[in-house]
């Protein structure tokens, strides 16, 4: 299974170069774009497809025939009451949970249901968890180093040394997430909001095409929240950003398209105003 997806990644790379010339072991430009892992084919504008996805746990239908498309470069907010299936959806996309049925594709070619977590991560999907999870015993700097987009196999890690460009990249992200002074501090000692930022920084280091962000502003001050909104908005365009959030004010401040999940499937989709005026959404949120 792994080998197959790797091979198909090769084929795609070859077809991407019409002359068929792909120098073996050509120096890869880490940090800017994927080469060997294969380009994501977004020729149909859509970067992420979920079609008829079903997941059930012990009879409980967490996802019920969920169909959802994310366009390349889009910023999408996903809202919904507790148990609507938002986190399960992220688990399915990142390979943590396998769907019972349905299709999940990255671009036209990559079947995510056949890939493992680390393959999906290197293919270009980054995830921020609901509860901030960083590597507590490592320093802030090391956390970013570990997340950095580079060859993450065993042997390269054993002989890896940070290049100047890589150090610069880490410094750049440290500035973006405003943790420059804390670079040598253990991540466990950061405040909750800082951990959130560090995790966002790790996402940036991964240089993903799609960022899945689960409740990014929990535990943040008003100022931090504003900066997060700015950051996420600035990322969209070049990357696709999918945000799951409860805070409606925050969603309103960043959202262009909002998808409402309910009982494992899409209830409504549209601009914030459309969605808020949708009678079915009102019913679900305000109760019968």
């Amino acid at each position: 299974m792994n080998r197959l997806s790797k091979m198909s990644a090769w084929f795609r790379t070859e077809s991407a170069a019409p002359n068929g010339f792909v120098p073996a072991g050509a120096p890869q430009d880490f940090g800017s774009h994927l080469l060997r892992e294969g380009e994501i084919d977004t020729s149909h504008k859509v970067i992420l497809y979920l079609e008829g996805v079903n997941v059930s746990f012990d009879g409980f239908k967490a996802l019920n025939n969920l169909t959802l498309y994310i366009n390349d470069g889009e910023l999408r907010c996903i809202i919904g009451p507790n148990g609507a299936g938002k986190t399960t959806m992220m688990d399915v996309i990142t390979g943590k949970t396998r769907p019972d049925s349905g299709q999940v594709y990255l671009g036209q070619t990559m079947d995510l249901t056949q890939m493992s977590e680390h393959e999906i991560a290197s293919a270009g999907i980054g995830r921020k968890f609901q509860k901030p999870t960083v590597f507590p015993e490592h320093t802030v700097f090391e956390n970013l180093e570990l997340a950095m987009h580079t060859d993450k196999r065993v042997w390269p890690s054993l002989i890896a040394r940070l290049s100047l460009q890589q150090r610069d990249r880490i410094d750049e992200v440290l500035n973006t997430i405003m943790l420059g002074e804390h670079r040598t501090q253990r991540a466990a000692r950061l405040s909750h909001g800082q951990k959130q930022w560090l995790e966002i920084g790790m996402l940036l280091m991964q240089d993903p095409r799609i960022l899945l962000v689960d409740e990014p502003i929990a535990g943040m001050t008003h100022q931090e929240t504003e900066r997060t909104a700015e950051l996420l908005s600035s990322l969209a365009g070049e990357r696709s950003v999918v945000v799951v959030e409860h805070d409606m004010e925050f969603v309103r401040s960043i959202a262009r398209t909002v998808t409402v999940l309910h009982e494992g499937s899409v209830l409504a989709e549209g601009s914030m105003d459309e969605v808020q005026n949708n009678p079915r959404v009102i019913e679900v949120y305000l109760g019968e």
Binding site: E117, G126, T133, L158
Partner: protein, 372 residues
Amino acid sequence: MTRQPLILHLIRDDRGGQIFIGLLVATLLLVSISNLLMPADSVWHLSTYAVTLLGKYLCYALLAIALDLVWGYCGILSLGHGAFFALGGYVMGMYLMRQIGERGVYGNANLPDFMVFLNWKELPWYWFGFEHAWFAALMIVVVPGMLAFVFGWLAFRSRVTGVYLSIITQALTYALMLAFFRNEMGFGGNNGLTDFKDIIGFSLQSDSTRIGLFVASGVALLLGYLVARYIVTSKFGRVIIAIRDAESRARFVGYKVESYKLWLFVVSAGLAGIAGALYVPQVGIINPSEFQPLNSIELAIWVAVGGRGTLYGAVAGALVVNFSKTFFTGFIPEAWLYGLGAIFIIVTLFMPKGLVGLIKQRVVPVKAAGAA
């Protein structure tokens, strides 16, 4: 950036490691001098018995480093690491058996005594090659490494972790013990392999060979420490700590966790094999009791007592526990197991970072104040 020789680079920020290496080198020199150059009636003379005992401890220390590498740094509590140690020991035992040649009781140049006794007519295929030192030396790491690879591949791929992994490693060593007890296995059954005569041409009875083995154990311990230190200070080392602390995060960042665990486990098994191989010629016997689960559990206690995740802590733990064991079993043998249990409880309750953590607590605040 200044370039330093690798070895200095490895222990630059490793105060405990520097002390450990200094003490180790000093011990190797002093013990050799005291045993070989001092007259036997001098107070400065160290008996060959004591040298052998120290050599044994050095092997245990290397084994403790092997366990600390997987447990302290990657959270894999293997309770079957004694199996890799014993396998390395058996490989060495097979080599030493083949060196006996026709000096055995039955005078058979081709077959070890126990095979003659069992009426075997020829050497089993898996004994081929063990008369060559180079082949045996290779097998000392290959055999434990292969077992670790197969076992680890199955276990880590199925994402067996925590206490479940500990239990199956325990089962592994128990199963091997039962297997090696059987005469049909061709490893001497209950009695194991013993009556060794010489190793690469040197008589095992002579003092100089004993010193040679002792020094070899010390050098192996030193090299093992440096290899382990290289691993944990590399990016690979940071990845395994990340796996220990937040395994699923490591996956989502893009690391293939199974591979990291697997290779770490294999390297660790190889180190344990080397420790076992150096142990056997010094104690003069290897038998299936080396596989008993209790040994592996004791090993985990050494590491816990010394302090996990520092490498030199594991060395300290192995030495302290074994010295106390030798002392107390000579003194009140019945009480030893209770004593060991008590040490373990005290360490778990009051010193979660082991002896090393206790010392650090005393020393580091002073140093930190000085540095600031």
